[in-house]
């Protein structure tokens, strides 16, 4: 196998809370290959979004910083890269689509200008060239009558259209990696389906690798090749998507998959109660306690889980899980 496009090694991201510094992401390693789609799942507060931001050097500093590890993009370490180096990579090589299409666009510029600006900054295109490029991008993301729409301000567009504009901006420079942080959470299912069609088409066309952050297991199943589950700032399970859906190994992964209501075409008259993961994600200041971070919410927690944190161990081709239960099963 050739070297991965992106290789994250032992990443640690810390935030200063009052006088103490707490690691909100710890020991995180993962690879992303060319043209691959990696899903990152977990509840809010598990470190998914901050991990994504760190790939673009966007961890707010202070109070946060990447406190250990490497982020190797085509062999170049982005940790400690200069702002100038990062600016060459942001947008050009790695770009990001944020969750909120309402707040991520500038309300006082037309969407055409916002797309064209990206083209001007990164390619040094002339105004006319950049404007043409903006219209081309709007057409690519499936916005009808792009010549007129380019003159619209964000508030004149629907949520789905705004998200398409965000995607157009992210794709102007044909990045090698597209990071999408809950790109469809604010959208209707029909629009979500259109956005994902678009992602697939673009992947075919420009061969971008995608990192998709989501908490929707259905989306993961449809869109990704490989999944990484995060809990309390750590990777607790990783593997190909098929195994993740059919045979989730970590109790947290199993909980995430079974707590969502499933749409059925033959619903019963009295649906059973949903599976519940009791409790909530630990707050940052509760991190770093001994034992497995999930133990207080885990139905299978044993004595050992409360004192010793399980390390990630391989359980087959490309799969890994951090749970003491695996050892019990193996023994």
């Amino acid at each position: 196998m050739s070297a991965p496009l992106l290789s994250v090694r032992d990443l640690e991201i810390s935030f200063r809370l009052g006088t103490e510094e707490t690691a909100v992401v710890r020991d995180l390693s993962f690879d992303l290959g060319e043209g691959e789609t990696l899903g990152i799942v977990g509840e809010s507060g598990c470190g998914k979004s901050i991990t994504a931001l760190s790939l673009l050097g966007l961890v707010p500093n202070p109070p946060g910083r990447v406190s250990a590890g490497q982020i190797l993009f085509q062999g170049q370490d982005l940790v400690g890269a200069s702002e100038e180096q990062l600016n060459r990579i942001r947008g050009n090589e790695i770009s990001m689509v944020f969750q909120e299409p309402m707040t991520s666009l500038n309300p006082v510029y037309t969407v055409g200008e916002q797309i064209a600006e990206t083209a001007r900054v990164h390619f040094g295109s002339s105004r006319a060239e950049a404007w043409d490029r903006a219209i081309e991008m709007l057409k690519l993301v499936g916005i009808p009558s792009p010549e007129q729409r380019a003159h619209n301000f964000p508030h004149q567009l629907s949520g789905g259209m705004r998200q398409r504009v965000m995607i157009a901006i992210a794709l102007v420079c044909e990045p090698k990696i597209l990071i999408a942080d809950e790109p469809t959470t604010a959208l209707d299912v029909t629009v979500q389906a259109q956005i994902f069609d678009l992602f697939r088409e673009l992947q075919d066309k420009i061969g971008a690798a995608i990192i998709l952050i989501t908490h929707d297991i259905g989306v993961v199943a449809q869109m990704t090749n490989r999944v990484m589950v995060m809990y309390a700032g750590r990777k607790i399970e990783e593997g190909p998507v098929s195994g993740f859906i059919r045979d989730p190994r970590h109790p947290y992964t199993r909980g995430l998959i079974s707590c969502i209501p499933r749409l059925s075409m033959s619903p019963s008259d009295m649906p059973d109660p949903l599976f519940e993961i009791p409790g909530v994600v630990p707050a940052p200041r509760e991190l770093g306690a001994p034992g497995c971070a999930f133990a207080p919410r885990c139905p299978h927690a044993m004595q050992r889980c409360r004192v010793q944190d399980p390390a990630l161990s391989r359980i087959g081709e490309g799969r890994a899980v951090a749970c003491w239960l695996e050892e019990e099963v193996a023994a």
Binding site: E43, V219, V220, P271, E276
Partner: protein
């Protein structure tokens, strides 16, 4: 008994220059006591406005909203205040719907104070009882909203809605702001309260799986009108309207994997509610639309059981074939 009966409800908003937004445009439905009624549709379909009009948080332009025997659209002053005991609301955003400067015990007690229910001591006891009902500890009454997680805040919102022993609770996207794991906790709570207290819900959601899980009957709204309504079983075993079929087929499912080929695709965005097109409002995005559809508006017509649909082509072979592909292609159970 019917908890809520809505007849030809219209809510129109002025849009300036003499234009009118037809947000809700002739909606009728009944909610039998002790059942949950789901309103689904895309944003802009008018589902939230319809629900708010039912609780009279938005004034109806025309039509009737009967809560038990009373048409609440014509009530005024004290009579309306008394009627509000029977209809309460749980809002979408548990962060924005609780007063940040009030202790949560006082937030839950507020409806009882306003309606002058019982003595102050009885109200306090009722608040304790409500906290226990929704899975909070009575000693948490003295805390402020920011000291709770999103799921706990939604429990507080539910306790407040339950305070006056309402017959009907309007739930406006009550779980869409919550994390998946927390969603399950709140959905189970709502299902348990309905079973234990015989509550009725008017439940608004854009998430079909959530609506299917909780609601006994479902109505699908498109651009201010109901295009299909039926029992949970009717809607999902035999969706009749192409829009319902498109909604169902757009839901990504863990089992179907990289599906999409048999998906019923929608073109473009919904038309403007300021000048809704003549004929069927969905025709512009419908794969099956004919010239007839674009000229003549279909009316909601009963097809047996509780099922009704507003579509000229629902029974045609072409639509039936797409329906069969959808129902059989999807996972069962």
């Amino acid at each position: 008994m019917t908890a809520l009966s809505v007849r030809d409800l219209k809510v129109h908003f002025p849009a300036g220059k003499g234009k009118v937004v037809h947000a809700v445009d002739g909606v009728s439905f009944d909610i039998p006591e002790g059942t949950a009624f789901g309103l689904v549709g895309e944003s802009g379909s008018g589902k939230t406005t319809a629900a708010l009009a039912c609780a009279r948080l938005v004034e109806a332009t025309a039509g009737e909203v009967r809560l038990g025997e009373t048409d609440i659209t014509t009530l005024a002053g004290d009579a309306m205040r008394r009627a509000r005991r029977d209809i309460q609301v749980v809002f979408q955003d548990p962060y924005a719907s609780l007063n940040p400067r009030e202790r949560v015990g006082a937030i839950v007690r507020r409806p009882l104070d306003l309606m002058k229910v019982g003595t102050p001591a009885e109200r306090e006891a009722r608040v304790d009882e409500l906290f226990a009902t929704v899975g909070l500890r009575p000693d948490q009454k003295a805390l402020f909203p920011h000291q709770f997680s999103g799921g706990q805040r939604q429990r507080i919102g539910i306790a407040r809605a339950l305070a006056t022993h309402p017959k009907l609770i309007v739930c406006d996207e009550p779980v869409s702001a919550l994390d998946v794991a927390i969603q399950a906790q709140i959905l189970n709570l709502l299902a348990r309260l309905k079973a234990e207290m015989g509550l009725s819900y008017l439940f608004i959601s854009h998430d079909l799986a959530v609506v299917q899980h909780l609601c006994d009957r479902i109505a699908v709204m498109y651009l201010g009108q109901i295009v299909e309504t039926g029992s949970r079983r009717e809607i999902f075993t035999s969706p009749l309207h192409p829009y319902t079929m498109a909604l169902i087929s757009a839901v990504p499912s863990p089992e179907t994997g990289l599906a999409g080929s048999e998906r019923i695709r929608l073109q473009g965005d919904p038309p403007s509610p300021i000048a809704p097109p003549p004929g069927c409002r969905f025709a512009g995005r419908c794969t099956f639309a004919t010239d007839h559809c674009r000229k003549v508006a279909p009316v909601l017509t009963a097809t047996g059981g509780n099922h009704a649909v507003a579509c000229h082509r629902a029974q045609d072979a072409e639509v039936a074939a797409a329906r069969n592909a959808l129902v059989q292609g999807a996972p069962s159970g």
